[in-house]
Amino acid sequence: MQTQSTHVSLLHRLTGSGQDSTAWFEFHNRYGELLRSFCRRRGLQSQDSDDLVQDVLLSLSRSLPGFRYDPSRGRFRSYLKTIVLRAISRKSCQKPEEVPLEQIEKLVADPETDQQWEVEWRTYHVRRALSRLGKEFRERDRTAFVQYALEGQSVERTAKGLSMSVDQVYQAKSRILKRIGRLIEEQIEEEG
């Protein structure tokens, strides 16, 4: 459903009049799981993570109308990370107005935080590529990939269970993995 330049156009739709609820829906659909997962990694409970995603969306809705996303001036993922950390910090202090800016800056620059964000960001790209993979491959090949490459089931058993040859299982794995890599490359180029 998404095209090459959707990332940028989505952000522009978000920064528009603010009335485009479908843009928020899409944004939530795209980044919600990334944000929740990152929050959990930072030690937040599931319920708190959900609240925090809402908080991030609210922050964006307040800041985005005046913000024109310009890929040349910095990566969106860094911008989003700052907003998320700000929200986490607010959440832990429970005093929204009293968070010192330096604290956020410190967190943003913290290598461990950076690493966690990077891991989540990669997982996000993988998930997204998988969802885009859609119908490019036959169901049998996709299932073989999951069972053999992701779940570690032996190639023989996978082949037998799906009425495939061992070679077909290997081929399915190789082709799908290559395609996923290309899709991620596209996504990252689009992201800027």
């Binding site: 739709r13 843009a23 829906f25 939530h28 659909n29 299932t143 992701l150 990252i188």
Partner: protein, 565 residues
């Protein structure tokens, strides 16, 4: 100590297949290990969807292969409570049809997640089947079986709501089998559901097959015809290889395309009855559910006609719907259309009055003859007046058109008739005729979308009838219903309900068929007022009337039964 694969190594990590695979494994592993389910072994995931992860497994005792769907921990879209979940399960267990994958059991995993055990269908999803280059004739045969299966479930009050290629499999014997019947939850765009839908991706995954009423979030409009729409998208897709409208844009554009954009012409090669097939597909894809096939059976029958080289049934639409559409398109009516519509109206009014009076007469046998004679006279007067009021000066005695059709507007003609009605001395002492005429004028103004004037005409009809025949005269039912309808159009549901209730009370002793439209409007009122209890009780009152007058398996009865689920 950090694991190696947690460390970002370089910005081109996606070019390293090992790194991509590790990231995927980590993501997959976050789902947790395969669940443990009593009585089953060897569970392996075979896919995931909006509702949860699907595993294949082996039933320990029988050695049979089964499919297990473990529902998401956070509840699936539309969050189904445990009681509702159990009710759905019970309902689905009653579905026994060779075209439906059977639900074999349900329960809670050791980890506390709900699961469903279903018949495992070895085969391919529907889209893979049509992509294998299957002949159109053969595909249509399979499609008819799908329609017949859907009809079977509809007759039992179960709507699928999420028919898409992934939910229909062609088994190894080439038979279509439908999955998840009754278990799919309605797709809705309401603010609460967006949250849960967006987190699961279910909404986007089903969007291309969703009906306009689903994407508009009109849950109350979802009925068996919602499935007809999805079947239409499937058929279009199978025949042309593409969707009826663009689904590649952003969400807003896609939603707009579903609700407002007409389907693109169907480009189909190599099949004789292209036009008929296109007509069938387009009837399924009507934005207005009233204009779609009323049942999956009628759709299947039309496809059968195409296969046999017979003409398909023409799209049927009510006079009212047709007129409204015509009027919306051409504000300036021609003489010809006026004459035609006028003729139909006079005929319609006359028939309605005759019908009403005849049924009343049957009940009150003692005055039957007098009443029929009175009715005849009344109809003649109505006829005479309408012809005189609408047409004078337009036709010569020989029937030749005397005015420029483009210059004559229907609104003017109706206004002219309304004025004459007030002034006509011959009607002075005939309150019954005048009341009928005011009611006819009310219909006309409603058709012209002038609710204020329509309301005034209905009020006059009521005043005249009450004055002449008393406050309990059954003739009051129609203008009261009109007032109720007008209030509903304005969003004044409370007022609408009181008019409609009075109208329905007056009709209770008469022909049960006449109560149906009033009760339908009362159902709408209850919906608008958010009165769930009343909504159900109205439907419960409506159902036996529909069964009695239209039959057990009529579309009306099926829809109401489905709404009561």
């Amino acid at each position: 100590m950090k694991k190696k694969d947690d460390q970002p190594e370089n910005s081109s990590w996606y070019r390293d297949e090992g790194e991509v695979l590790r990231t995927m494994q980590r993501n997959h592993g976050s789902r947790g290990p395969a669940p443990r389910i009593p009585g089953l072994r060897d569970l392996h995931s075979v896919g995931s969807g909006g509702q949860g992860i699907v595993y294949s497994g082996i039933h320990k005792r029988t050695g049979r292969r089964v499919a297990v769907k473990v529902l998401r921990e956070d509840g699936s879209p539309g969050v189904m409570g445990p009681r509702r979940f159990e009710r759905e399960i019970d309902l689905c267990r009653t579905l026994r049809h060779p075209g439906i994958a059977r639900l074999l059991g349900s329960g809670t995993t050791f980890e506390g997640r709900r699961y469903l055990v279903m018949e495992y269908i070895d085969g391919v999803p529907l889209d893979e089947y049509w992509e294998t280059g299957v002949e159109t004739e053969e595909f249509l045969g399979a499609f008819r079986k799908i329609c017949d299966t859907v009809f079977h479930a509809h007759q039992r009050g179960i709507i699928h709501r999420d028919l898409k290629p992934g939910n229909i499999r062609i088994d190894l014997q080439g038979r279509p089998r439908i999955l998840d019947f009754g278990l799919a939850k309605p797709v809705s765009r309401s603010s609460i559901e967006i949250e849960s839908l967006s987190s699961t991706g279910d909404f986007l995954g089903s969007l291309p097959w969703a009906s306009p009423e689903q994407v508009a979030g009109n849950k109350n409009e979802i009925d068996v015809r919602t499935d007809i729409y999805s079947l239409g998208v499937l058929l279009y897709q199978a025949l042309s290889g593409s969707f009826p409208y663009d689904i590649s844009g952003n969400l807003k554009e896609v939603l707009h395309n579903i609700t407002d954009t007409p389907p693109r012409p169907l480009k189909l090669k190599g099949y004789g009855s292209l036009r008929d097939l296109e007509r069938v597909v387009f009837r399924c894809l009507q934005k207005d559910p009233d204009r779609r096939y009323p049942t999956a059976l009628s759709l299947s029958e039309d496809i059968g006609r195409i296969q046999r080289g017979e003409p398909v049934e023409q799209s049927k639409q009510s006079l009212w719907t047709g007129f409204r559409r015509l009027w919306a398109r051409h504000r300036t009516a021609t003489i010809a259309s006026i004459a035609l519509v006028l003729g139909l109206t006079v005929f319609g009014s006359a028939m309605a009055i005759l019908y009403r009076k005849t049924s009343l007469a049957e009940e009150e046998k003692s005055i039957a003859l007098d009443e029929t004679r009175k009715t005849k006279l009344r109809v003649e007067a109505v006829n005479e007046f309408l012809l005189g009021a609408f047409i004078p000066g337009c036709f010569s005695p020989e029937g030749k058109l005397l005015v420029d059709p483009e210059s004559l507007r229907l609104t003017d003609a109706v206004a002219n008739a309304a004025t004459r009605l007030e002034e006509d001395p011959s009607l002075k002492d005939r309150p019954g005729v005048r009341a009928d005429l005011h009611q006819a004028m009310c219909f006309w103004y409603a058709a012209l979308n002038d609710l204020d004037l329509a309301e005034r005409q209905a009020e006059k009809a009521i005043a005249l009838t009450e004055e002449a025949f008393g406050p309990d005269d059954p003739d009051l039912a129609t203008p009261l219903q009109s007032l109720g309808w007008i209030c509903l159009q304005r969003g004044e549901s409370k007022e609408a309900e009181s008019f409609l209730q009075r109208s329905d009370d007056l009709r209770r002793t008469g022909d049960p068929a006449k109560r149906i439209p009033t009760l339908r409007l009362l159902v709408t009122c209850a919906q608008h007022l958010g009165d769930q209890a009343k909504y159900r009780s109205r439907l419960e009152e409506l159902l036996p009337l529909l069964v009695e007058t239209q039959g057990e398996d009529s579309p009306g009865a099926i829809n109401v039964r489905a709404a009561l689920e």
